[in-house]
C-alpha cells in the first residue's frame, strides 16, 4: 500500500515536470515577421540574380485604423526588396535587414514576373517545395511586367493590397471563372507525366489588378498565355467548371448581343 502511494506521488511529480517545460517553439505573433506575399523578379542587367519583394502587414496599423476609421492604408503594409542568387539566399539577405524572424507560413500569394516564368521556374519552385512552412494552398500567379508592381499596388478598398488579389481569385474560383491553381496543383501538374502546369496570369496597375487568363507552361517554362475566353473553355472542358459568360452577336440586321450564362457544364 505504501509502495503504491510512493509510485503515485512519483508519477505526479513526473507529470508536473512536463507541465513546467512549456513549449520550445513558442514564438508570439509580435516576435515574428509574417510575410503575406512574395514577388520574384529578375534584376536588370544581372542575369544570375533574383529580386525578391515581400509584403509584410503591420498588425498595429491594421488594428488601429479600423478604430479610427479611414486611416491611411498606405502604412498598413511594409514592402521590402532584396536580391539574391536563389530565393533562399534572398530570404536570408532579407533576414539580415529585419529585427524578427521571418515566417513564411502565412504567405498566400507568390507573384512571379513573366520574365522569370519564361526563363524557367525550376529553381524557385524547388526551394518552395522543400520549405515545410510554405503552404500548398498558396497562390502562385504570373504577373505581366514586374512582380513588384503587384505588391506595390494600392487598391484602396482593403487594407492589405494582396488580400484584394486573394479575394479576387477566391471569388473567381467559387464562381467557376478563375482556375483554382494553388501551389499544390502546380506541383502535382509538374510531376504528373500527362499534365503540363498553368498559372493565373494577372496584370497589376497602380490601384488595382486585372485577371487576364492563364499562363501556360511546358517543362516549367512559360510558353504563352490564354486569354479569359480561352481559359473558360479550358475550365469547362477540364474541370467541368461553369466559366464566364459567352457573348454572341445577334444574327440579322438589328445588331445587338446575347449574353449566354452557363449554369453547369457536363462533359462526355
Amino acid at each position: 500500500m505504501r509502495m503504491g502511494k510512493a509510485w503515485a506521488s512519483l508519477c505526479c511529480l513526473l507529470l508536473f515536470m512536463t507541465l513546467l517545460t512549456g513549449c520550445w517553439d513558442r514564438r508570439e505573433l509580435e516576435e515574428r515577421t509574417s510575410v503575406i506575399a512574395l514577388g520574384i523578379d529578375l534584376v536588370e542587367g544581372r542575369q544570375n540574380l533574383y529580386k525578391l519583394t515581400v509584403q509584410i502587414p503591420i498588425p498595429i496599423k491594421i488594428a488601429g485604423s479600423s478604430g479610427q476609421g479611414g486611416g491611411g492604408n498606405k502604412d498598413a503594409v511594409k514592402i521590402m526588396s532584396v536580391t539574391g542568387k536563389t530565393v533562399t539566399d534572398a530570404v536570408n539577405n532579407l533576414q539580415q535587414r529585419l529585427n524578427q524572424r521571418i515566417f513564411l507560413g502565412h504567405t498566400r500569394v507568390l507573384a512571379i514576373s513573366e520574365d522569370v516564368a519564361r526563363r524557367g521556374m525550376d529553381d524557385i519552385i524547388d526551394s518552395f517545395r522543400r520549405d515545410p512552412q510554405i503552404r500548398r494552398l498558396m497562390w502562385p500567379v504570373v504577373v505581366q511586367g514586374r512582380a513588384a508592381d503587384l505588391l506595390e499596388m494600392k487598391p484602396g478598398l482593403i487594407q492589405i493590397p494582396v488580400v484584394f488579389l486573394m479575394d479576387l481569385i477566391e471569388n473567381g474560383t467559387k464562381m467557376g471563372t478563375i482556375p483554382d491553381q494553388t501551389m499544390g496543383e502546380y506541383l502535382i501538374q509538374t510531376s504528373n507525366e500527362t499534365l503540363q502546369p498553368m498559372l493565373n496570369y494577372v496584370q497589376a496597375y497602380k490601384d488595382d489588378v486585372k485577371w487576364k487568363g492563364v499562363a501556360v507552361f511546358r517543362d516549367q517554362k512559360m510558353v504563352g498565355s490564354l486569354n479569359d475566353i480561352h481559359t473558360w473553355a479550358l475550365l469547362q472542358l477540364r474541370d467541368e467548371k461553369r466559366g464566364g459568360d459567352v457573348i454572341v452577336p445577334l444574327p440579322g440586321k438589328g445588331g445587338g448581343y446575347i449574353s449566354f450564362r452557363p449554369h453547369f457544364v457536363r462533359r462526355k
Binding site: R135, R136, L137, L187, S191
Partner: protein, 387 residues
C-alpha cells in the same frame, strides 16, 4: 503457471478492448508514409495494396488467436515452452523456445524505438522546428513508462478510450480530401504485372506490423469473447482506414507526386480545406491527435516487451516497474541511432523483414508443432487408457 489463470487481472479484456488494442497499435507512424510506399511499385493500383496485403495478416492473426485459444490464459512467453518441450520436459522447452521469445522481444523493442524516432522526425520537420528531437522522443518514452507502471487492464482501457480519437480524425481527413479528388488518377486500374502487385502487396503487409503484440495480450481475453473475431475486426478496421488514406492520396496527388513528398498524409492534411470550418491550418490539429495514435503504438509495444520480460523471468509487478524505467535508456539509444532520415527508412525496411518472422513464421511453426503434439497425444490416449 496454473495459478496465473486465477489472477483477478486475467480474463478481463472485452471484444471491443481487444479490437481497439489491435487497431490502435497498427495505426501509427505508417499512416503518414503509406500512400508513398504503396504507390512506389504499384503506381495507380497502390490502393489495392492494403487489401491484398492484409490476406497474410488475417492468416497470421488467425494463427495467433488459435494458438491462444489452445492455451487459454497463457501468453506466448508461457506457452512457447510447452509447445517445444511439452509438460514433461520443461527445461528443454525453455531452451528451445528462448530464441523465438528473444527474437520476439528484441524485434518489438527495436520497432518501438524506431517508431518513436519516426514520430520525432515528423514533429521536428513539420511543426516544432526548434525543439530538439531527443526531447520529443524522451517525452514519448516517459508517457510509455507511466503506462507501464500500471497493471495490464489499464492498458486495455487506455486503448479503448483513445481508439475513437485515433480513428475519426483520420477518417475525417480522408473523406474531407475527397472533395479535391481527381478520380482519373486511379486509372488505369491495373497497369503493372501481377508479380509486382503481389510483391507490393506483400510489402504492404509490413505496415500491418504491430499485431504480434497479441501473442501476449490475447491471453487476457475474457473467456466468452472470440479472439479470432477480435483479431479480424481489428485488422479489418485498419485495412479500411489504410485503403481510404492511400486512395485519398492517389486521387488528390497522383502517384508521381506522391513519390516526391516525404509525408504524403501530412501534405494531404495541409492541402485540405474544410468548408465552413474555422480551422485553417488543419495539420497542427491533426498532428496533435496523431500523437495519440503513435503513443498507443509505442506504449503497447513497450508494454508487451516489459511484460514479456517479466513473464520470462517469472517476476512480479515491482520488476515490471523497475524494468520499464531501466530499459528506457537502451530504447533511447536505439531510437537516436540512425543518423538521418534515409538511414532511418533503410532501418525500417530491414526491421520489417524480420517482423515477418515474428508475426507469421514463428506462430506458424508453433502451430504446426502443437498440431503434431496434439495428434500424438490423442493417439496415445486411444491406445493406452492411463496415458
Amino acid at each position: 503457471m496454473s495459478q496465473l489463470g486465477k489472477d483477478p487481472q486475467h480474463n478481463t479484456f472485452s471484444l471491443w478492448q481487444m479490437t481497439s488494442l489491435i487497431t490502435s497499435t497498427l495505426i501509427g507512424v505508417g499512416v503518414l508514409t503509406l500512400p508513398r510506399t504503396t504507390t512506389e511499385k504499384m503506381f495507380e493500383a497502390g490502393w489495392m495494396a492494403p487489401i491484398l496485403g492484409s490476406v497474410l495478416t488475417f492468416f497470421a492473426i488467425w494463427l495467433i488467436a488459435v494458438l491462444s485459444r489452445r492455451f487459454p490464459g497463457l501468453t506466448f512467453i508461457q506457452y512457447s515452452r510447452i509447445v517445444w518441450g511439452g509438460h514433461e520436459q520443461s527445461r528443454l522447452g525453455f531452451w528451445l523456445s528462448l530464441p523465438w521469445i528473444m527474437m520476439f522481444l528484441i524485434a518489438l523493442f527495436v520497432t518501438t524505438a524506431i517508431t518513436s524516432r519516426i514520430f520525432g522526425e515528423v514533429v521536428v520537420t513539420a511543426v516544432l522546428m526548434d525543439t530538439p528531437l531527443e526531447v520529443i522522443i524522451v517525452s514519448m518514452f516517459v508517457l510509455a513508462v507511466i503506462l507501464c507502471l500500471h497493471e495490464i487492464d489499464t492498458l486495455a482501457r487506455v486503448n479503448e478510450i483513445l481508439f475513437p480519437l485515433i480513428l475519426f480524425p483520420i477518417l475525417f481527413i480522408a473523406l474531407a480530401s475527397f472533395q479535391k479528388a481527381e478520380w482519373n488518377n486511379i486509372l488505369p486500374l491495373i497497369r503493372v504485372p501481377w508479380e509486382t502487385i503481389i510483391t507490393g502487396a506483400f510489402e504492404t503487409n509490413f505496415s500491418f506490423q504491430g499485431y504480434e503484440i497479441m501473442l501476449i495480450f490475447f491471453a487476457f481475453a475474457h473467456e466468452n469473447t472470440g479472439k479470432v473475431k477480435a483479431g479480424f475486426y481489428g485488422i479489418g478496421i485498419s485495412v479500411f482506414v489504410y485503403t481510404l488514406i492511400v486512395l485519398a492520396g492517389i486521387v488528390v496527388f497522383g502517384h508521381e507526386e506522391l513519390q516526391r513528398v516525404t509525408w504524403p498524409t501530412l501534405e494531404l492534411v495541409k492541402s485540405t480545406q474544410v468548408p465552413g470550418l474555422i480551422l485553417e491550418r488543419l495539420e497542427s490539429a491533426f498532428l496533435a491527435v496523431w500523437v495519440a495514435a503513435v503513443f498507443t503504438t509505442v506504449a503497447n509495444g513497450y508494454y508487451a516487451v516489459i511484460y514479456g520480460l517479466r513473464q520470462l523471468l517469472k517476476k512480479g509487478m515491482l520488476f515490471q516497474r523497475i524494468a520499464s524505467i531501466v530499459l528506457i535508456f537502451p530504447l533511447f539509444f536505439v531510437a537516436i541511432g540512425p543518423q538521418n532520415i534515409v538511414e532511418l527508412f533503410k532501418m525500417t525496411s530491414l526491421i520489417e523483414y524480420t517482423t515477418v518472422w515474428i508475426s507469421v513464421v514463428s506462430p506458424l511453426i508453433h502451430w504446426l508443432i502443437m498440431l503434431y503434439r496434439d495428434r500424438g497425444r490423442k493417439r496415445e490416449k486411444g491406445s493406452d487408457a492411463h496415458g
